[in-house]
């Protein structure tokens, strides 16, 4: 009897939970799962759209073969430089936002004012306004020209990397503009580290330098990876990036195939991040 009642309560709880999650699940099935399956379906077909009907002809992997092998210019000439660019932008964004978050966490007069300013990118960076600013040359640093760094780059760095490095340096300010949300995440993460630990380390005579490396940084590891993931996702889905703008309504079949190829690249990056995280997490907790 007792067992029965507990079972009942358990089912009741499950029904309650299901009621709460139902709208989201419904939305997921309609607006995510269905289009996802459909685009996979289209990527294996030649899609012809007429006024009233849509015709599909099964062509197997032809779209994929075309993008990956036969006509690789799109993927290799536009995607690879972009990947190299992101490979440089991501560490810069992470280090910069960590630095700023730690500075903003200190107590000093005028902190509120600085915080208000530093969250401005959160507002602007998603919009077209930033594109406008890049077009005006607001993104570049004038040091580049005065020190003739371009010239040295061309001279000493292998060609495949010189271009992306130049581009990142040229839009360095832009990189800073993209770190708004990351600063927020680090700042919020920093609040979760207990003040008692800092107190204890201070009493034990540890300086700020040691405190940073021994307490703050290990404590922030989860947030570093959260930010890494966020940055990867954000950079790769930004509408102005080269691949994304190629996914358009001119050819449904091959666009879908391209989107899937692109998605699998992103997914492998994120999985790599998660795998790294689990390794690092294990290493840190092992040391403790």
């Amino acid at each position: 009897m007792k067992w029965n009642r507990r079972l009942e309560a358990n089912t009741l709880r499950k029904i309650e939970g299901s009621l709460f999650i139902a709208p989201w699940v419904f939305g997921f099935l309609t607006f995510v799962a269905f289009p996802l399956g459909y685009s996979l379906y289209m990527s294996f077909h030649q899609v012809k759209i007429t006024v009233n009907t849509v015709n599909y002809t099964f062509i197997g992997f032809q779209h994929y073969r075309e993008i990956l092998v036969a006509n690789g210019s799109l993927l290799y000439e536009e995607l690879l430089p972009f990947l190299r660019e992101s490979a440089m932008m991501i560490p810069i964004i992470l280090v910069f936002s960590l630095l700023v978050a730690i500075l903003l966490n200190l107590r000093f007069p005028g902190r509120t004012l600085f915080r208000v300013i530093f969250f401005l990118p959160v507002i602007f960076s998603s919009g077209q306004i930033v594109q406008e600013f890049i077009a005006q040359g607001e993104g570049s640093l004038s040091i580049m020209e005065t020190l003739r760094i371009d010239y040295y780059l061309q001279e000493y760095v292998p060609g495949a990397w010189a271009g992306p490095i130049q581009k990142v340096m040229g839009s360095f300010v832009l990189v800073l503009w993209y770190s708004g949300v990351q600063i927020l995440i680090f700042l919020a993460g920093r609040q979760t580290l207990p003040a008692a630990v800092y107190e204890a380390s201070r009493i034990d005579g540890s300086g700020p330098w040691n405190t940073f490396w021994k307490i703050t940084l290990p404590g922030l590891v989860p947030y570093i990876f959260l930010n890494l993931m966020y940055t990867v996702v954000d950079l790769f889905t930004f509408p102005s990036n080269p691949i994304v703008s190629r996914v358009n309504t001119t050819n449904y079949g091959s666009s879908s195939a391209l989107a899937w190829i692109y998605f699998s690249i992103i997914l492998s990056f994120v999985l790599l991040t998660l795998w790294l995280y689990s390794r690092v997490d294990k290493a840190i907790s092992g040391r403790r």
């Binding site: 289009p35 507002i123 005006q136």
Partner: protein, 324 residues
């Protein structure tokens, strides 16, 4: 040799004279501090870094504002870089006219705020369910939530267009609004994650206490759980509003031929028109100023919202609503 001797002499005197020594130690204390991060030197360094970066963030805005109030004489005058000699508001009028400002502004406000309100409720419900409730296949749905967050919208955009076309929703606001009703829409997965992480930090006793008092699950959510998540809500509302306001991608694909479009689209259309005019040989010194005026008109409402909301926003972020 003499210098060394004199130095030694000075050092010896220092050792002896307690007053001088005290003064020097006070100086050292002031400059370097008892710990590094308390001293004057460190503080100056912090301010230098912060002011520099703040300048980088503010400069485009300053540039925008100063450029848009320059008339022809000020634009051509090489001695005017930042501060124009006279203030001219004609560009603002021109840009407002080209953007169809009155109507587009209302559309943008309506669209962004309705999506924000819907997303707050639907994402709070979903996040609450993920954090505190039990339902079948919870792990699987959690993984799919992460998947939704990672997935670029481009993968599903084409079938979505076809789907919405089937519903007859193209060129309306429904493709943006309806997914928000179900906790999706622009970055919906991120908002669900924010709420989930907020709710999972609350103590278990809260549910139990409310349950003891006889509150049903829905009453408990709307009376206790939703109001308690105020700090997360502020963050989500602001993000959702701002991102939907700025979003260009979805509206450009779902309402490409619509008559009533939000500001982000009218800006793009305007830029296209101006590029065409420039291509046709119409060279004007005003193009820059008008573009900046248009940008200002689009950003200004966001700035106003942000200035009002920033206090709660920063507080909300600090209450760890944002993190996992």
């Amino acid at each position: 040799m003499k210098i060394v001797e004199r130095g030694n002499d000075l050092a010896a005197r220092l050792q002896e004279d307690p007053k001088l020594r005290g003064g020097l130690e006070l100086l050292r204390y002031r400059v370097l501090g008892a710990e590094i991060d308390k001293g004057l030197l460190f503080k100056t360094l912090v301010y230098i870094i912060l002011i520099n970066v703040a300048f980088i963030y503010i400069k485009p805005i300053l540039y925008m504002v100063t450029t848009m109030v320059k008339d022809a004489r000020n634009i051509l005058d090489p001695s005017v870089i930042w501060v124009p000699k006279t203030i001219y508001l004609g560009h603002l009028q021109e840009a407002a006219h080209m953007l169809n400002y009155g109507k587009s502004l209302l559309i943008s406000i309506g669209l962004a705020s309705s999506v924000a309100v819907l997303q707050v409720f639907s994402c709070a419900i979903a996040g609450y369910a993920f954090a505190r409730l039990d339902f079948p296949f919870k792990k699987l749905w959690g993984a799919l939530l992460l998947f939704t967050f990672i997935m670029p919208p481009q993968v599903t955009i084409l079938p979505s267009i076809m789907l919405f076309k089937e519903f007859g929703w193209l060129n309306t606001f429904l493709p943006m609004v309806v997914p928000a009703l179900f906790g999706h829409g622009l970055k919906g997965a991120l908002f669900v994650i924010i709420y989930r992480s907020f709710y999972s930090t609350l103590p278990k006793e809260l549910d139990e206490a409310a349950r003891m008092d006889g509150a049903g699950p829905f009453r408990m959510f709307f009376r206790v759980m939703f109001p308690i998540a105020r700090s997360a809500t502020v963050v989500v509302v602001l993000f959702s509003f701002v991102w939907n306001w700025n979003d260009f991608y979805f509206p450009s694909l779902f309402m490409f031929t619509a008559e009533n479009v939000p500001l982000s689209i009218t800006l793009a259309r305007m830029a296209g028109e101006m590029a065409q005019a420039a291509g046709a040989g119409e060279i004007t010194v005003y193009a820059e100023a008008i573009k900046m005026a248009a940008s200002f008109l689009i950003i200004m409402p966001l700035l106003v919202v942000y200035l009002f909301a920033q206090r709660w926003f920063i507080e909300g972020v600090e209450r760890t609503g944002l993190v996992e």
